[in-house]
């Protein structure tokens, strides 16, 4: 029941809980980065809602703003902003996630000029200077919310919601472990869960997750695979890959498996410094964090060992510089360590790609002798 509800939420943008949330007079703010400290927004009942493509492959209007050399996920999101699908948002928080997102937000501003678009500055390096900067940047985010929505955000409330996030992160780890040794869920279920987390108030999500975890099922597969690479909400694609027998038992992508394994738990310290360290350290899982390649490689390897996978699929959207280059390096290094790798380059949500992807996945399974 809960799992199907989660799948339903993941397949839409403005879900019933968001509608209810809004009808109660609460705000929803769009963003596109896991460095967004959810607890700061939730402390005054602002729902941080992840911008995603939701499987939209039509980018005809967006293509006249961005070019066809820009990432198709960004173009898909821009299309949804332009065609009004995201009109339920009360504003946007932009992050310099990557060059493509940077251009996308520029174009959003050019075309729609939203009333509230706060530039949240997330460093690309982790050191004492950038942590100090980021701590202040989180304060500036808080102030931007306060000014825009006429609210006051107290540190106590932020701490309260930081603890809620801790609880969710712990539950997510527990849920992901249910797929490791004797998998009891499909990877497509897991992607639906993480998408739902990005689209729901925390309390609602926690309840749904807890009951969904009780809905363990029998899972068929030929091989166990870890999925890494660029941010992914393409549940249909995962389903197609799993139908062929490549079960995704672990995954280290952005707001998926990348969003909780390395998140620190609140330790009672100064809240802004704590949040800065928590989010910036976790962000090392993203290819936009320079000088942290070893961290990412080790993270993938440790997950691969823990989940006992047969191979790794590294995926990215065409024109994604960050993960395209990262995946080339990872492929070299993982293969050298004896881990079979398949690199999948795809256009976001493109059905035209499915046949080609299936041939590659099938051959990969055959290579794994599964």
């Amino acid at each position: 029941m809960s799992l199907s509800k989660i799948h339903e939420i993941a397949s839409t943008l403005e879900n019933e809980y968001v509608e209810k949330w809004r009808s109660e007079g609460n705000a929803v703010v769009g963003h596109a980065c896991i460095a967004m400290p959810k607890e700061v927004a939730e402390a005054v009942r602002i729902l941080p809602f992840r911008l995603r493509g939701a499987g939209n492959a039509d980018t005809s209007t967006a293509d006249s703003y961005l070019s066809r050399y820009n990432c198709s996920l960004c173009r898909s999101c821009l299309e949804l902003v332009l065609n009004g699908s995201y009109d339920f948002l009360d504003g946007l928080v932009r992050v310099r996630g990557c060059d493509h997102w940077m251009g996308t937000f520029d174009e959003v501003q050019h075309a729609k000029n939203p009333e509230f678009m706060h530039y949240f500055k997330v460093p690309h390096l982790v050191n004492g200077d950038t942590l100090e900067f980021f701590s202040n940047e989180i304060k500036r985010l808080k102030e931007a919310f306060e000014n825009r929505f006429g609210v006051e955000i107290t540190e106590d409330e932020i701490v309260r919601y930081a603890k809620v996030q801790d609880e969710i992160n712990e539950k997510m780890r527990e849920f992901y472990r249910l797929r490791f040794k004797k998998p009891r869920f499909y990877g497509s279920d897991a992607i639906a869960v993480v998408v739902a987390r990005e689209s729901l108030p925390s309390e609602v999500f926690l309840q749904l997750l807890e009951s969904a975890m009780a809905e363990k099922k029998k899972v068929d597969f030929r091989a166990k695979v870890l999925l890494a690479g660029s941010p992914l909400d393409e549940i249909e694609l995962i389903r197609k890959i799993e139908e062929m027998g490549a079960l995704i038992v672990a995954e280290t992508t952005c707001f998926g498996g990348g969003s909780f394994w390395n998140m620190a738990e609140y330790d009672g310290s100064e809240i802004y410094d704590f949040l800065a360290a928590k989010y910036l350290n976790n962000l090392k899982i993203c290819a936009r964090m320079f000088g942290e390649y070893a961290f990412r490689k080790n993270f993938i390897k440790s997950m691969a060992v823990e989940a006992e996978v047969d191979g790794v699929i590294l995926q990215h959207n065409k024109f994604c510089d960050l993960f395209g280059i990262e995946n080339a390096k990872l492929r070299m290094d993982l293969e050298k360590d004896g881990i079979p790798v398949l690199v999948l380059e795809k256009e976001y949500a493109s059905t035209a790609d499915i046949g080609r992807i299936k041939t590659r996945v099938q051959a990969f399974l055959e290579r794994l002798k599964r």
């Binding site: 065409k318 380059e345 035209a352 790609d353 046949g355 080609r356 041939t359 590659r360 099938q362 051959a363 055959e366 290579r367 002798k369």
Partner: protein, 262 residues
């Protein structure tokens, strides 16, 4: 017991039959609009020719529509064309370690180990560069048949440089050379060479280990084959069969290996 394999590509479809570890027949046709129908037609014609009932054959499918053929009950199992080309080539010559398969829409470089198992592979991305389609576009621009295009390499004295990777821009370049009255042989030879270059860097992603063979429709283009041998520094091993049937043969071998002991 007979074992069969079908392989449907973007332009042609093949069927192969094996009996007692020998090829008893094969057939190669132009595809129909529906890949499932293509497979059924080519295998049907072959069975009729050999005089065998479909019920007496275990068929494995590969290529387009391979899954649908299993759902339909026509084929018992399906295998990817990557494994099939690898297995087919290895069966014909166990010294083979690298197979370069160039079809109408796809180009693949397949590496196999000493047991004929798939070790690694790489496929072109979805653009037509490095596929039979690329050659077709340029041949049309030159007003040549595909066969004529292949032979031009041996008639040219000074092949032009076709630099664009994209088929559309390459065609513009071809037209540009034609307007400037470059000899057709030199332009055509340039096309064959640029095709070989595209395959070359695909091949380098997985590395090329000897022995190497060339399969798929483009293997019949002597010009591309020659240029590719030159650029890779290898001599392709001739498998002694029509290079287009290697995929279907591989499928039949997989069927034989799995069900031959029954």
């Amino acid at each position: 017991m007979l074992f069969g394999g079908t392989d449907v590509g973007s332009l042609t479809a093949q069927a192969v039959l094996l009996e007692d570890g020998r090829i008893t027949g094969y057939r190669n046709i132009r595809v129909l609009p529906n890949p499932v129908e293509s497979a059924k037609k080519v295998m049907g014609e072959l069975l009729e020719e050999v005089g065998v009932s479909p019920d007496d054959v275990v068929i494995f499918s590969t290529g387009y529509g391979r899954e649908k053929l299993v759902e339909d009950g026509f084929a018992k199992e399906h295998v990817s064309e990557i494994s099939c080309h690898g297995r087919g080539a290895f069966w014909l010559n166990p010294a083979i370690r690298t197979i370069i398969d160039i079809g109408g829409q796809d180009a693949k470089v397949i590496r196999i180990d000493g047991n004929g198992n798939l070790a690694n592979f790489v496929m072109n991305d979805k653009c037509a560069a490095g596929t039979g389609r690329f050659l077709e576009i340029q041949a049309r621009a030159l007003g040549l048949t595909l066969d004529e295009l292949g032979e031009m390499t041996f008639k040219a004295s000074n092949p032009v440089a076709i630099t664009a990777r994209c088929s559309i821009y390459a065609e513009t370049e071809v037209l540009h050379y034609m307007q400037r009255k470059f000899p057709k042989e030199d332009i055509a030879a340039g096309v064959n060479r640029s095709m070989a270059e595209r395959i070359y860097y695909l091949a380098r992603r997985v590395g090329v280990e000897r022995e190497v063979t060339l399969t798929g429709g483009v293997a019949k283009n002597r010009g591309v084959k020659h240029e590719l041998e030159k650029i890779l520094g290898v001599k392709f091993v001739d498998l002694g069969v029509d290079p287009q049937i290697v995929g279907a043969l591989g499928a039949a071998i997989f069927a034989m290996e799995k069900y031959g002991g029954e």
